[in-house]
């Protein structure tokens, strides 16, 4: 059994790897084409574009892991079926479910490694890639993207704006009372964000607005305590997909505390967490599609139909996640639930194969 496990595991792993390589390679090619269009903006050149594409490659491989697991499993099973190896295995008393389980083991193992990567390695790579790209694109070499970012802190709205030419970060803070009347406005021409979350503003204009009129004061320096740490600031400016699992959950609670919409971060978190389940579902789906009575119909057709079905399901699931965001449905129902449903459906269909 051990020998068979190893044989099956190896044939699945090599098919999976090849498919993943094709898909990730193809997407990298299109990504490179897109990146090369930006050459000449700022200091961005060919080596930057190549570095960006290679740094984001592991992320793309992770993204393509579930569809390649499906195709890899279908191809591996198809080859086994074609050479009558599947028949031989089953004649030897090994059930289809058992074969599926053998495929599942290397897949789950690889995915655990990938999830660890999604927590510790891939986000660092993607964030480096992203930050390097943004820095090279802007003339000055600062981190924040155009327009800076907005956030709110109870009754305060904070807007950090980065000038592209010199990288100076100006800040605008608007203070409202409980009846949504503006009570204060602070404008700082330069901002330094301290490690403890204190923001130090320079060349400050401070206005206090009352119903009787307003008072204006110019201050050389003003410190606003406990606003956002540099890490929290960076997390808010990076795209949600590039954040690690722990950064995502941190950002979600940070945003919810500020009564901001955390939907996109929540979806990204769920999509990362359901990756192993959806990969298992993909493998499960391939079993009833390929393990049919031999010679009943052409195998090629089954492989194609299975592949189309699986790929459609995988992307419908992703699209559902985004549609759910628009319709305000919890990501649990749009990500984990369909994956679990297909896993269960696949298991039931596989049980029916004798």
């Amino acid at each position: 059994m051990k020998i068979i496990d190893r044989y099956l595991g190896r044939s699945f792993a090599s098919c999976w790897l090849s498919v993943n390589l094709i898909l990730a390679g193809l997407l990298s090619f299109f990504e490179l084409a897109k990146q090369l269009d930006d050459i000449g903006k700022g200091r961005y050149d060919v080596s930057d574009a190549l570095l960006y594409v290679s740094l984001t490659l592991p992320g793309r491989m992770l993204e393509m892991a579930p569809p390649s697991a499906l195709l890899g499993s279908i191809i591996a099973l198809g080859l086994l079926a074609k050479n009558q190896e599947l028949t031989a295995l089953r004649a030897g008393g090994i059930s289809v479910q058992r074969i599926g389980w053998t495929f599942m083991k290397p897949a789950v193992l690889t995915l655990l490694v990938l999830l660890l990567g999604a927590q510790f390695i891939i986000p660092t790579l993607e964030q480096t890639a992203w930050t390097r790209r943004e820095t090279a694109l802007s003339k000055s070499g600062t981190l924040l993207p155009r327009g800076g970012f907005w956030t709110r802190d109870e009754r305060r709205f904070i807007n950090l704006r980065t000038a592209r030419d010199n990288g100076v970060q100006a800040v605008d803070i608007y203070e409202f009372d409980n009846r949504d009347a503006l009570t204060g406005y602070i404008h700082g021409r330069e901002t330094r964000i301290g490690a403890n979350g204190n923001w130090e503003l320079h060349h400050v204009l401070r206005k206090e607005i009352t119903e009787q009129g307003d008072s204006v004061r110019a201050l050389p320096r003003l410190v606003l305590p406990h606003l956002l740490t540099p890490q929290q600031t960076a997390a808010l400016t990076l795209p949600p997909q590039t954040l690690s699992i722990s950064e995502l959950s941190g950002t979600i609670s940070n945003l919810q505390k500020r009564e901001q919409n955390a939907g996109r971060y929540l979806l990204a978190l769920w999509q990362k967490l359901t990756l192993p389940v959806i990969t298992a579902a993909m493998i499960m789906l391939s079993l009833p599609l390929v393990c049919r009575p031999a010679r009943s119909a052409s195998l090629g057709w089954h492989i194609m139909i299975g592949a189309i079905f699986g790929v459609v399901f995988f992307y419908l699931n992703q699209i559902l996640g985004y549609t759910g965001l628009i319709l305000q449905v919890s990501p649990f129902w749009t990500t984990l639930f369909p994956a679990l449903a297909v896993l269960a459906g696949g298991a039931i269909l596989t049980r029916r194969i004798v």
Binding site: G147, A307, I308
Partner: protein, 367 residues
């Protein structure tokens, strides 16, 4: 003739499967990317579908060559591994016949790819640019996400605490306008968007709120409380005749002397040629000894394909940026590719002779 037809058919079966699956994966992948924008309120569902179809149409000039290449590697590997080619060779099939069978299919698809590159590509890019600009016009404040900041234009930011989709309204709304040395803030109990009066004009109507005008220099600030206030949105500027290279017609590019135009033109002509060259390259890569590991060289073949294609992308950029002149242009990659084909392909060619001599002197066995 029958054998050639058989080989073509063996290649066509995986060709159809791979092409279908790749197109589906690619469209799913693009749909997810565009949906990100749809969530940002920038694109509607219909626009996403149209954009994905156009993306796939553009991508076909690469998807078809990669499919053909993989299909040849897979099909011929199987024929070699099952000893079928050995049997055919015993029956008098020359390498030339095998090559001509592949060449027939490759030239057919290459013509299609060239047609796509020369005509479909500029058309699809033109349509895509149009949809993207029009997409920005579809923005509606009642269809966005609550609790997020939206940049409606570079000097206008919108935020709503709650949405009321039933009444098409946003609740507890803030809008910031940035002017030179000025900040204007409007906070209101509710807001909705109206179209008109003119074509493409839009306005946000605020109810029960106040409007502040803050001066960053001296000057006085203003505060106005209102029951209803209308903010006219500037219609997004559609660049009417902005020149987009990828959407330019091939006839126009042919007359241009701009290096970037030349690069684009050379790229459009090179896709078909690459299709044929890659198909020919697939023949020697699929040679495996009978009954050996069937798909041993597939991984190497995939990597080789992407190395060559990425190289031609870089070559195109170099022509655009005038690192390389228009005369070698991007064709040095094509020449490199052709050299590799002649070197590896089992037919009489000077490069091939060189290789055989080296194999003989090093005492290698198999040719």
């Amino acid at each position: 003739m029958i054998i050639e037809r058989y080989i073509v058919r063996e290649i066509c079966a995986p060709l159809v499967v791979i092409c279908t699956v790749l197109i589906m994966i690619f469209s799913g992948f693009s749909a997810v990317r565009f949906l990100n924008d749809a969530v940002n309120g920038l694109l509607s569902g219909g626009t996403v579908v149209a954009l994905v179809s156009l993306k796939v149409l553009i991508a076909l000039e690469v998807l078809i060559p990669v499919t053909l290449y993989l299909a040849i590697v897979l099909a011929l590997s199987r024929l070699y591994a099952d000893g079928e080619i050995t049997a055919m060779e015993a029956g008098g099939l020359s390498q030339k016949k095998l090559i001509s069978a592949v060449l027939f299919l490759a030239i057919l698809l290459a013509l299609m790819v060239t047609g796509l590159s020369l005509h479909a590509r500029p058309w699809a890019y033109g349509k895509m640019y149009l949809l993207e600009t029009r997409g920005q016009n579809e923005f509606d404040i009642a269809k966005v996400e609550a609790g997020r900041f939206y940049e409606l234009s570079h000097n206008l930011v919108f935020f709503a605490e709650k949405l009321d989709p039933a009444r098409n309204q946003a609740r507890n709304v803030w809008v910031w306008e940035f002017g030179p040395e000025k900040r204007r803030v409007t906070s209101a109990r509710s807001a909705f968007q109206t179209n008109g009066p003119g074509e493409g004009q839009k306005a946000i109507v605020f109810q029960e709120g106040s409007h502040y005008s803050l001066n960053l220099k001296t000057g006085t600030d203003h505060l106005v409380g209102f029951q209803e206030n209308v903010l006219q949105l500037e219609p997004p500027q559609i660049p009417p005749a902005k020149y987009r290279r990828k959407a330019a017609s091939t006839e126009h590019l042919a007359t241009s002397t701009d290096p970037a135009d030349i690069a684009e033109l050379q790229w459009r002509f090179s896709t078909g040629i690459s299709t044929v060259l890659m198909a020919l390259l697939a023949i020697p890569l699929s040679r495996v000894a009978p009954r050996r590991g069937k798909y041993g060289k597939v991984v190497a073949a995939i990597i080789l394909f992407f190395v060559i294609y990425n190289l031609s992308l870089i070559a195109k950029t170099w022509v655009e940026k005038q690192v390389v002149g228009a005369v070698p242009g991007i064709w040095w990659v094509t020449l490199l590719n052709a050299g590799l084909v002649l070197f590896l392909l089992p037919v009489q060619s000077p490069l091939r002779k060189l290789r055989l001599r080296r194999v003989r002197t090093s005492g290698g066995g198999t040719p």
